[in-house]
């Protein structure tokens, strides 16, 4: 009896621990989704007081929240494009070209990732102010800041992908009558694309999420994380959980659909 129980535990322990860890990781998200249906008794209530559709039907009810979300999405979008384009070019240069100061450049692109956000944020503010932008802090300074801190992540991600790319594939393409341009678009780019895509997604989520650097350089503008921070002082409106849930389900949808897409492609070619 004891032996059988021991065996059962032995067989399932990995599964069990795995489930517990998953539970631990997803608990906050369950709470966010749950609280998006909350009908709070008072402004400062953090408990589930009753079920309602109201929050989902009136997501923009809290004053300024939807403006903050829109601003964050706009900045996230532009920062993603800027950082991905620049970072990809940098990654190509760092991996493919032998130039003087290459290893130093490598270290310097890595450095911003390692330095504390609060330091970067405040020094950036000092820079903006001393450059005479003190009165015009806002959309553009936020965007510049976001592109800056996303850049390192893009470079590192794309570089990893590029370093794993066998240069002989490009040589084979050239050997098979593809000129430099065709080689890039037919062979190099498709093979590096997953890295670029990952870098873009990472950039967006970093930008959308950022509070510390943004807070220091935003002037009068309010991004979503700043709004949530401010609201938390007064009592979080349940609509914030709606936005949180939407973001989560959107991410989930993206992950699942890319998975399905890949499976289907694998099945078609099998």
């Amino acid at each position: 009896m004891n032996g059988r129980l021991g065996k059962w535990v032995g067989d399932h322990i990995v599964l069990l621990v795995g489930l517990l860890v998953l539970l631990y990781m997803f608990m906050p998200i369950f709470i966010v989704v749950l609280m998006s249906f909350n009908d709070p008794a008072s402004k400062n209530s953090y408990s589930f007081d009753g079920f309602t559709w109201h929050n989902w039907l009136n997501p923009c009810e809290p004053i300024g929240m939807c403006d903050a979300v829109t601003l964050s999405i706009r900045i996230g979008f532009l920062a993603t494009i800027g950082a991905t384009a620049l970072g990809t070019l940098m990654a190509f240069a760092l991996v493919r070209h032998r130039f003087k100061g290459r290893s130093v450049a490598n270290i310097f692109t890595f450095l911003p990732m390692a330095s504390p956000e609060i330091v970067m944020g405040s020094s950036l503010l000092a820079l903006f102010v001393s450059a005479g932008f003190a009165g015009t802090l806002g959309f553009w300074t936020i965007l510049i800041a976001h592109i800056m801190f996303c850049l390192s992540f893009v470079v590192v991600t794309v570089k990893a992908r590029l370093a794993g790319l066998d240069p002989r594939l490009e040589q084979a393409a050239m050997d098979l009558y593809a000129n430099e341009w065709q080689t890039f678009w037919r062979v190099t780019f498709p093979l590096v694309f997953p890295g670029i895509l990952a870098a873009a997604l990472l950039s967006f989520s970093l930008s959308f999420d950022d509070f510390i650097i943004t807070n220091l350089n935003s002037g009068q503008e309010v991004t979503f994380p700043m709004y949530v921070w401010g609201a938390a002082q007064r009592g979080i409106p349940p609509q914030i959980n709606v936005i949180g849930s939407v973001m989560f389900f959107l991410a989930l949808f993206l992950v699942i659909s890319s998975e399905v897409f890949q499976r289907r492609r694998a099945r078609v070619t099998a």
């Binding site: 002989r168 040589q171 084979a172 050239m174 050997d175 098979l176 009558y177 000129n179 070619t269």
Partner: protein, 381 residues
């Protein structure tokens, strides 16, 4: 350069340096149009580097490469009528097998791609695999895709960098025959790199033996085997007994060389170079399978080369033949391979034997060279 019509591939003084290291050193090579040319040599001798220079993937440090009347030394790879089967296949992982094979045709804007690709896949027996990705194929199948992808373009020169390396023996033999058949059929010049001497000899019209960035010797397989000009070739292609001897004169068109009181005769045209003969100190070479064994003191026919008073130190029976090691009075061990015809009892370890062989099978090499150059180690099989 021969007649101007021929689209021979000619390398003149081709040199490639990596830093200060010379991977290919002042190489001269002529590959006649339509021939099956094998480049044979040990690992690291510069075979791949040579091919890459012909393909345009590596820049020459010095020298020139011409194809027929055209100097292609500095042409971009995609402008050369040359295709490569890479040592590592280098199939495009994001494309199907069909698209991999179609790649070259599409870049050249050829018509009728579908039909041609299907025919080519048929030829390499991969017709049903067109829709798969390279990772879904076995190593041998990938190799055949790499071959199809290059061959479909009907280049003037096809470069094959150990294209059969990953195959098991049976498939390897089958592909060797297939490759040879394809080459004869399409009449394309094949430059085939390998370090498998048997493969080089069975397939090629001409074999060039390469060592440390240099061509040691070039010729028909039989010529190379029967008449090696360096100790490296003598040892790398098959096995050889090299016996140090002193030249002490000539008899008509035969050279006499002496070792420990025995006189060995070698036809003059089988001496690698006259300078060695004049200097007096030479290696007398004989292939182990050309040597006959006789019990010590047996009469031998006139005109044979004879070495007496050998003692058998090792006998290994390997089915079709028996391999003997015989220690000579001066301490050297010589190899003798005998067919198992059953005509005579095998010798045993300790028996005294005489070795004899025909002067026509003997060759002379310059004694300045290392007698062990190119000896294949056990682990290289």
């Amino acid at each position: 350069m021969a007649d101007s019509d021929a689209e021979d591939l000619v390398l003149t003084g081709v040199t490639k340096k990596f830093g200060t290291f010379k991977a290919v050193d002042d190489l001269d090579l002529t590959v006649p149009q339509g021939s099956f040319f094998a480049l044979l040599g040990p690992s690291g001798c510069g075979k791949t580097t040579t091919l890459r220079m012909v393909a345009g993937l590596e820049e020459l440090t010095a020298g020139a490469i011409t194809l027929g009347p055209q100097d292609i030394s500095y042409l971009k790879p995609y402008k050369r009528p040359v295709n490569t089967v890479f040592q590592s296949y280098a199939l495009f992982p994001h494309m199907t097998i069909f698209e991999n094979v179609a790649f070259g045709l599409r870049r050249q804007g050829k018509k009728d791609v579908k039909k041609q690709v299907e025919d080519m896949l048929e030829l390499v027996e991969l017709a049903q695999y067109g829709a798969r990705k390279p990772t879904q194929l076995s190593g041998g199948q990938q190799q055949r895709v790499a071959l199809a992808r290059a061959l479909i373009n009907r280049p003037q020169v096809l470069l094959l960098d150990e294209p059969l390396g990953a195959l098991d023996l049976k498939l390897r033999r089958a592909m060797q025959i297939e490759l040879k058949r394809i080459q004869t059929e399409v009449g394309i010049t094949f430059v085939h790199v390998t370090h498998d001497q048997e493969e080089a000899m069975t397939m090629a019209d001409t074999v060039a033996v390469m060592n440390a960035g240099l061509i040691e010797q070039m010729g028909e397989p039989k010529e190379l085997y029967e008449h090696p000009r360096t100790t490296f070739v003598a040892n790398f292609l098959g096995q050889s007994n090299l016996i140090k001897a002193k030249v002490n004169g000539t008899d008509g068109d035969q050279i006499r060389a002496e070792i420990e009181g025995s006189t060995l005769r070698v036809p003059r045209d089988r001496a690698a170079d006259d300078a060695a003969v004049r200097s007096g100190s030479v290696w007398v070479g004989i292939r182990p399978e050309k040597v006959f064994l006789a019990a010590g003191g047996t009469e031998t026919s006139d005109g044979s080369n004879v070495l007496r008073r050998g003692r058998v130190t090792d006998v290994s029976f390997i089915g079709v033949s028996t391999q003997y090691l015989v220690r000579m009075p001066w301490g050297q061990e010589l190899m003798v391979f005998e067919q198992n015809t059953g005509a005579r009892e095998d010798f045993r370890v300790g028996d005294e034997v005489d070795l004899h062989w025909l002067p026509d099978h003997t060759f002379l090499l310059d004694a300045d060279q290392d007698a062990t150059a190119g000896v294949e180690r056990e682990d290289l099989g």
